[in-house]
Symmetry: C2
Subunit: 418 residues, 2 copies
């Protein structure tokens, strides 16, 4: 079976200055293409360490993908090591990459330095896949045992941008089974509860369909259905029919049958129905607005939000009655609903979502740490619910925000279907 | 020289479902203790792969730290492999970890299952370092060549929580030089500009002081000064005197001489001076408020914020005059200042910060993508500045927010010193 290794090159990873996000993105793309990753390795900018790791991985995996070490500075030595490994004796200039490099630098108003010019030179035995997003070329060569190495830049968006071309190259070189994949995104169920709920369906799945549970704090659980033998109409129809059965079991718990985020799903619902949204955030402190506005085009439906950290702001800006806070406390059903109603009125939106809770470990005397009240308001009324989580402050804020987006989604869907 | 390897165990890393943040945190802690990391490796939940990787790393590094594979489910096989590697022939129960496990489960209202009970059993030749934060014990054993392996849980806050105990254990086993470290955080200068500015000071540094530049998009540049031979009064005094010289060159560009974040530094300034803060966010969409509220105790100075994504919200909630927007556009000095003044008035804060810009690649006809106007307002007036960045949407939002916090910091400091 064709397997892959992913190697990260650079001192900045080994000293812990940078978290390596390239490897997981590459592994995901390889996995979707049906190529399992056997190992991941990170080594520093040292000739011996790079040679040692790449020789070992090339001897064990048919495909080795590296990132990093292709920059214009002296400590970037990946290219020299590739020359040595590929048996190249000289460097040649790649005219295509030179042209891209000159275009990129001139578009930023920068001069082409000697160090930039050197980036377009590659070991003679390396094939070049042009990097349209940066100045360093993507290089590939075949080792004596037939294994193929691909060297990608370390800049995350350049590495990600290179993947489609690299995968196409891999498909031309290796016989890789086409894979039929479908992702279903589920929120609001623990993995064990979901597993119990869909057990009869899972047990009755045709043997060629593989099911994976992939949990994520901000996205819920991704259920991935795969058939590893083809992408013809037959496989697609088989997966589609099982998907329909799953949808009839889980209903609205499924927020996307593509590989989507909650914030993009909420955005799509609002956009398609011509609705507008506002948020009032206490304990989530801006995270809901931040998530919503990472989606390009959010200005079409998201009017804005109020982060009401101080009680005074809850009362004076959002119009939460002082008596409500005095009687029920800030973290309460009544408090959350008053915030949601207040921001909807203030910003003039169709719908609103509000959070009030305790993200840290400490309670407020009425509620333990990790408690959040989430409320939604719309043209036909309001609704609130209490949730509890047991993580640290930052993780609780993320979970509160994701749960608020899901609670809003279910509320708006129920109103649209009413 | 003592070197370390960091190994991550678990299929969820190899399929790209989870980004490995443990390794960089462990590498940072080892580096601060004066132990360089030679390599990082990730392998799946397979006996052969784990054995192969750990044997290789134990033969090359004096210290091997693993994370993951210690959970209660069947796919967690790290403990069995440790038994094999350590030459243990049976498992023994660790009473201390059993007690911790029972306490943790009962505090969450959970029953102790057979699978939990098994977690307190460890290979007889493994030493246990109790894990106070979770149910799986931290294990350690010494290989035949004298190298020592430490197995930490994969849950990030448990792995991080285990590090002080593990480092203490390492110091008892290996002769590790004490290291004198000092971190200085600088914002608002590119690495090349900073390097040029401090070149005369850097060139005149005593040879025993090592300087490292560690850039980060949200934090700016961390300058780390280290002496690798001791932590006595002599080394401390030497580093302190060089630090004073550096401060006289960089002045307020240094926002912290501890390893702090911009949001914590801003928070400290506001708290110490009894001041309050509000924010008005357009293109940053809640990220400034989110950063400020990740700091525990932020409610003492941060009153709240308005995310004014829609023009209507800028006009009606923040009181930005329609003529200002018509004449100068939303992304303008006048627009930013009106937002800052508006939110300061609305929330009744001492100071405020506002952003308006274009986080995506597209321009608005007047400004190219990546442009942001940042304004601050206070009791004595307002100030605004335009900044430009060239990243993708998410990265631009982060840079805009960090730059806004720094601009606010410099403004408030200048007013306090006036």
């Amino acid at each position: 079976m064709i397997q892959a290794s992913v190697c990260t090159i650079g001192d900045e990873i080994l000293i812990g200055q940078v978290v390596d996000t390239n490897s997981s993105r590459i592994a995901r793309a390889l996995g979707e293409a049906g190529i399992p990753v056997r190992s991941m390795v990170s080594v520093g900018d040292s000739r011996e360490a790079i040679l040692d790791a790449l020789r070992r991985e090339l001897s064990k995996s048919s495909i080795v993908i590296t990132t990093g070490g292709l920059g214009p500075t002296k400590d970037d030595i990946t290219k020299d090591v590739l020359g040595e490994l590929s048996g190249s004796t000289r460097m040649v200039e790649n005219p295509q990459q030179r042209e891209i490099m000159e275009q990129i630098l001139s578009s930023r108003g920068l001069q082409v330095l000697e160090s930039n010019r050197r980036q377009a030179w590659v070991p003679e035995r390396c094939e070049v896949i042009p990097n349209k997003l940066g100045t360093a070329p993507i290089m590939s060569f075949t080792a004596d045992n037939g294994s193929v190495l691909y060297a990608l830049p370390g800049v995350p968006h350049e590495a990600a941008g290179a993947l489609p071309d690299v995968l196409e190259h891999i498909r031309r070189r290796f016989a890789i089974n086409d894979i039929c994949h479908r992702n279903v995104m589920v929120y609001g169920l623990a993995e064990s509860a979901l597993s119990e709920l869909i057990a009869p369906w899972e047990d009755a799945l045709p043997p060629e369909i593989h099911l994976a549970y992939l949990p994520d704090p901000l996205k819920g659980i991704r259920l991935r259905l795969s058939i590893y033998s083809g992408t013809s109409a037959k496989e697609n129809a088989l997966i589609d029919s099982e998907l329909e059965k799953l949808k009839s079991i889980l209903g609205n718990r499924i927020y996307s049958d593509a590989d989507d985020t909650l914030e993009a799903t909420v955005g799509r619902i609002f956009k398609e129905n011509g609705l507008t949204l506002a948020a009032a955030e206490s304990c989530t402190g801006g995270e809901i607005a931040h998530l919503l506005t990472t989606v390009s085009g959010a200005s079409e439906y998201f009017l804005g939000s109020v982060t009401s950290y101080a009680i005074k702001v809850k009362e004076e800006v959002l119009g939460v009655p002082a008596e409500t806070i005095e009687k029920f406390g800030v973290v309460s059903e009544e408090g959350a609903i008053a915030m949601a109603k207040g921001v909807r009125r203030l910003l003039g939106s169709d719908y609103s979502v509000a959070t009030t809770g305790l993200a840290g470990a400490e309670g407020d005397g009425r509620n333990p740490g990790g408690t959040v009240w989430i409320a939604v308001a719309g043209p036909n009324g309001e609704k609130a619910h209490k949730f509890s989580y047991h993580n640290d402050r930052k993780r609780n804020i993320q979970r509160f925000a994701a749960t608020a987006l899901d609670f809003l989604r279910l509320f708006v869907l129920s109103e649209l279907n009413a």
